[in-house]
Symmetry: C2
Subunit: 192 residues, 2 copies
């Protein structure tokens, strides 16, 4: 249990066997079925979830009932409403499972205690958030500076696994497009 989590942790900050054993006490496993919510708009986000296996997405629903996908997360990624988690404010979006998934949860009390007791956990956290920041910046700059075709080509180059496993209309939503438009863009790209 927690294999992927500790593989990931060790790749960022090496842990001794004792440290691993201690940290394990702060973790809890969770299995979640396809379409199940991990977090709903209005709830308070009580956990950070590391994905051992599977795929989840976070998304908001607007006044017209349209979903807008904020993030995809596969194995090795972390997903949460960080704002809600850190501030205790209600979440402003949903998280649910795209596939049956296995998670490692770290709740707020555990997170805070780990931060002060294990400097390595703080480093792990800092590196995770830094990676998340860089990934989001790539996405943002691509949104504001690249033509749509290039954005999509770029996306399939960086995240081929997501393209394989996630329905196309969710990817359209992630890119801020309608499914129809994405379908047309794909046709344009293919005919080149």
């Amino acid at each position: 249990m927690y294999e992927s989590f500790f593989r990931n942790f060790n790749s960022k900050v090496a842990l001794t066997a004792e440290e691993e054993a201690l940290i394990k006490n702060y973790l809890s496993p969770k299995k979640i079925r396809k379409k199940q919510y991990l977090l709903q708009d209005g709830d308070i986000c009580k956990n950070i979830a590391f994905i051992e296996k599977g795929a989840l997405k976070s998304y908001s629903v607007d006044d017209n009932g349209n979903e807008h996908i904020i993030q995809f997360a596969l194995e090795g990624w972390i997903i949460a409403d960080l704002y809600s988690f850190l501030t205790g404010e209600p979440a402003t979006y949903n998280i649910d499972a795209i596939e049956d998934s296995e998670l490692v949860l770290i709740n707020k009390a555990a997170h805070e205690e780990l931060l002060v007791k294990f400097p390595k956990y703080e480093t792990f956290t800092r590196l995770n958030i830094t990676n998340a920041y860089l990934a989001m910046q790539r996405r943002l700059t691509s949104i504001i500076s690249s033509p749509i075709e290039e954005r999509y080509s770029n996306f399939i180059a960086i995240y081929p696994d997501i393209v394989q496993r996630v329905p196309q209309h969710m990817i359209a939503s992630y890119m801020g497009l309608t499914p129809e438009t994405l379908s047309r863009i794909r046709r344009r790209i293919l005919s080149k």
Copy 2:
């Protein structure tokens, strides 16, 4: 010197006078004139810059010579090409001064040494990057889920100081719009 920097630092992690004195040795001040570059596309980003006073922006220039503004930063903010800074790869965008500004620079060697020698500096860094992440996520979700009018209204509500000090066409670029479109949106909003 460094007043704003340490005020900011202490608001996140309290320092003793001795710690402040030690950390000062890792910092260097820099003044930069309006329109001067802090970083140019292709350079390697050697410093993180904390803004004591003034305003800067980061932006990319596309194949047609159009600028796309990635970030504004005023007093109390940090600006850098974090990707380039962390990896040593050449920067993919520019940073320049919108106003005459005063900066506190932390170079890479200093940053790394501070991280290992001062756990408080790692906490400071973690909190900074977390804030940057949350701010960027707000921006991103607003781009993908709000109609443009609302995005602009939201922007002036959150960053009134930027609206005051930064020319409108830069704000248009930041929002992914042409200056003409932003001008028309403003008219629409005013006539309500």
